[in-house]
């Protein structure tokens, strides 16, 4: 574990005293210390373009009284800096009072190992794989004009010091491996992207040369797109494949079920607790406890152990995702969903691994049930306006469905829907639930955090497809 006070002019017990003194009249708060080591290795245009290493150290000091959050952060873990932060917090909260909330649940469960993935594979080994990726892809298809591949590795050590000297720690490994290819044929260019990752060593994901399957998938998507024709425009039936297309769940309902928006009543879901918000058979959970997944956390960034939170059960809205602040104000408990990008940011309730569970139907049955529609397999990303409930997601591999059969590939298009009503349009839920490959990053209030999604194939009766063919 990281000793944050080793090179500092302030001792741990002095820091603990400042924390206890600052928070004594507050409802909640903590000193959050973080040390992140990360590396990027990038191959692009036949060359190693970038080899970089980052080491980021800092603290964020938070004090909460009633609804008011005071926050101060700095890179210098020193007596002076911590005292100055304490003064900042006290001056913001000078006229308010609270009772410090000590209760924080404990758990011994861990969902990943205490490793530093960067040090587990040498630079030369990583460069060798990137070059092999480049050679493998370029020898596979003459139409390949560009290959980009990268490794991203990270180890984040955090310590949370609460009033009274209570300390909670976590060491979080995270890796990603991405491949992107561009094809050119008869003057037309198209690209394909694929990646894998999680809270593990590189070898866990890339053993036995299975980086080849990542390359194959990127190339397959690019090849499909090279043959694609303009996407249709208008409302139609949409079949979503399993796995990564669950960005739909993340955007359509996930964000709208985060505690802050519901406490503030700015979410389209804020008055729908206990009501039917999805078709029967639709169950959605947000789970931080799956081993080695990108969105998993042993404890959240407030120190609360994570859990599997049921959001929607058989169509009925059951729970919101909560951090400590919103849970206290809504008179409920934290679901271990308090997260921040790093020490520069305040905690917000966020998603972890958001998953729709399997039903009974097959993908075949869904395709057969569609006269005119699209079958969407791969997505780039999405966004939601949580107040109006409107959300989009951008498909990067899709096909038309004509009379119950999969037809030609279509160009990438944006799909738009309404969060509170779209899940009521789900008419079939598949038996083929799959996790995404581990590449998702969710953005909220300028903070990006790693997340996961999962779903089976689903059939949605009505969504607007943003193509150009009328």
């Amino acid at each position: 574990m990281n000793n944050f006070f080793e090179k500092s002019d302030i001792s741990r017990s002095e820091a603990e005293n400042i924390v206890s003194d600052t928070l004594s009249k507050c409802d909640d708060g903590e000193l959050y210390l973080e040390n992140t080591k990360s590396e990027t290795l990038l191959l692009d245009d036949n060359k190693i373009k970038n080899s970089s290493y980052n080491s980021d150290l800092g603290f964020g000091f938070r004090a909460i009284s009633d609804e008011i959050v005071a926050y101060s952060h700095s890179n210098e873990i020193s007596k002076n800096s911590l005292r100055q932060s304490s003064e900042n917090l006290k001056s913001t909260l000078k006229s308010v009072k609270g009772t410090y909330n000590h209760e924080i649940p404990k758990s011994n469960k861990k969902y990943y190992d205490n490793i530093n993935p960067i040090e587990q594979k040498s630079l030369n080994e990583k460069i060798k794989i990137l070059n092999e990726v480049n050679n493998y892809l370029r020898s596979k298809d003459n139409n390949i004009k560009q290959v980009t591949a990268n490794f991203l590795g990270e180890q984040k050590s955090v310590e949370i010091i609460r009033s009274g000297g209570e300390s909670l720690t976590d060491v979080r490994p995270l890796i990603r491996f991405n491949v992107s290819v561009m094809l050119e044929k008869n003057g037309r260019k198209e690209s394909g992207v694929y990646g894998v990752g999680g809270r593990q060593s590189y070898d866990f994901y890339l053993k036995d040369e299975n980086w080849k399957s990542v390359c194959d998938e990127a190339l397959r998507i690019a090849s499909v797109n090279l043959e694609s024709k303009p996407a249709p425009a208008g409302e139609m039936k949409v079949v979503l494949g399993p796995g990564w297309p669950a960005i739909l769940i993340h955007e359509a309902v996930g964000h709208g079920l985060e505690g802050d928006f519901n406490r503030k009543k700015t979410s389209a879901f804020h008055n729908l607790m206990g009501q039917k918000v999805a078709s029967e058979g639709v169950t959605i959970v947000d789970d931080g406890t799956i081993d080695n997944r990108r969105g998993s956390l042993t404890i959240d960034d407030e120190g609360t152990p994570t859990e599997k939170t049921v959001l929607i059960e058989n169509g009925i809205l059951k729970n919101f995702m909560q951090d400590r602040l919103n849970a206290r104000l809504m008179k409920t408990r934290s679901t271990g969903s308090g997260r921040r990008e790093n020490y520069r940011h305040i905690v917000l309730p966020r998603m972890r691994n958001t998953m729709m569970l399997s039903g009974n139907q097959t993908q075949d049955e869904m395709i057969k049930a569609v006269d005119k529609g699209i079958f969407a397999v791969s997505f780039g990303g999405g966004q939601v306006d949580i107040t109006s409930g409107k959300f989009v997601f951008n498909c990067t591999e899709a096909y038309e469905i004509v009379n119950g059969k999969i037809g030609s590939p279509i160009k990438g298009a944006t799909l738009i829907g309404d969060g509170p009503s779209s899940l009521k349009e789900v008419s079939m839920v598949g038996n083929d639930m799959m996790m995404d490959p581990g590449i998702g990053t969710c953005g909220k209030a300028g903070q990006g955090v790693p997340v996961g999604v999962a779903q089976p194939s689903i059939l949605i009766n009505k969504m607007t497809v943003g193509g150009t063919k009328l």
């Binding site: 060359k47 008011i68 208008g234 951008n394």
Partner: protein, 438 residues
Amino acid sequence: MVKDQEFLEKKASYCLGLAKKLGATESSVIVNNSVSETVNFRNKKLDESNRSDDLGISITTYIGKKKSSISSSNLLDDNLNILIEKCVETTKNTPEDEFNSLPDKDLLAKEVKDLNLYDDTHIENDQKIDYLKKLEFAASSDKKIVNTESSFTQNKSNFILANTEGFCAGYKTSSFTASSVTVAKDEKSMERDYDYSSKCFFKDLDDAGELGKQAADQTIRKLSPKKIGSEKIAIIFDKRIAKGILSTFANAISSSAISRGTSFLKDKVNQKIFSDSINVLDKPDILKGLGSRNFDREGVKTDTLILVEQGILKNYLIDTYNGKKLNLKSNGRYGGTSNLYFENGNLSFKDLLNSKSKSLYITETIGHGNNIVTGDYSVGATGFLVENGEFKYPINEITIAGNFKDMFQHITLANDLEFKYATNSPTMMIEGMVVAGK
């Protein structure tokens, strides 16, 4: 207080010296410090205060044509020693790339002009609170407004860029930013909108009352939206959306996208890519400009650049590495554009609205539907139906789609350019796009 030049210079020269001692043939370093203070209000009450003090250093070392870089927020010498040693070691093990090098010495900025980018005024939290009270009072005066959130941020930054060619320069900048986000509700719907003002000098910031009222008005008029059918229709982009289309254009002419062959605008220099009257400029020396600068992140002098003249693409945005690859000189655009804008068109805003019997006025887009490889564009959109120059009713849950290659050829601009952001456009109409709705 933000750290002074002397502190940053000392760190920079320490790093350059150490890198050389450890075997780097060349190196460059950026040291920066940024101090921000933010106060947030919600529903007329204090909601959050946030102070951040960020130090950062990034070092790139070269050994011949080998290159690697490190960055850190920990500026203690102990830590820098470990990191620079690691950086030089990694450099040795990284394959050569013939285009790796520091910028050509004759392209480096020789002087640092005072572009009026730093306001020494310090706005105490109590003053921020006064501003936000006024703002929130104006924002919540209509009872349809059910939630208001507003924010005031003061930022002071300083940096030094130094390299082993003898370049060493930097300067302070400041920004004062206020924003208002409001939620309005009626029986049928709930909508959100915002307004925002950001300036280098506090005294230039928008009036708090005006800002709050503008956000509220923009939100209320979105209530009870309808969904329209799918059709081909003229699209008018509000200035805040039109600037995004200009940013996508800038991404597509970056020398990295061009040299990698991943842009739909590759090999289009001296060809007509926009409609006749369109001019695009990138002007780095606007006094108090939000994107103004003397040089880019490599130290290369940044001059005014005409990117598009009468619809014809004139220049790419070039950095040292990709410039060498394309056999072109850097024009000081490492890290992108400075103050990028479309010059004004000929029509007034009103005449532009009136120019079609029916059009869609878009105030917000969502999604990441820009593909600079193919030029395809498809995003979710919110806006208004415009008939005979009048806003008829709000619209949402639609998408708009097209391809930039066609869209650029069908742009008409109004004459209402203002410098609200670093990238700016007048109100923009594009014909021939497809709306998907019902």
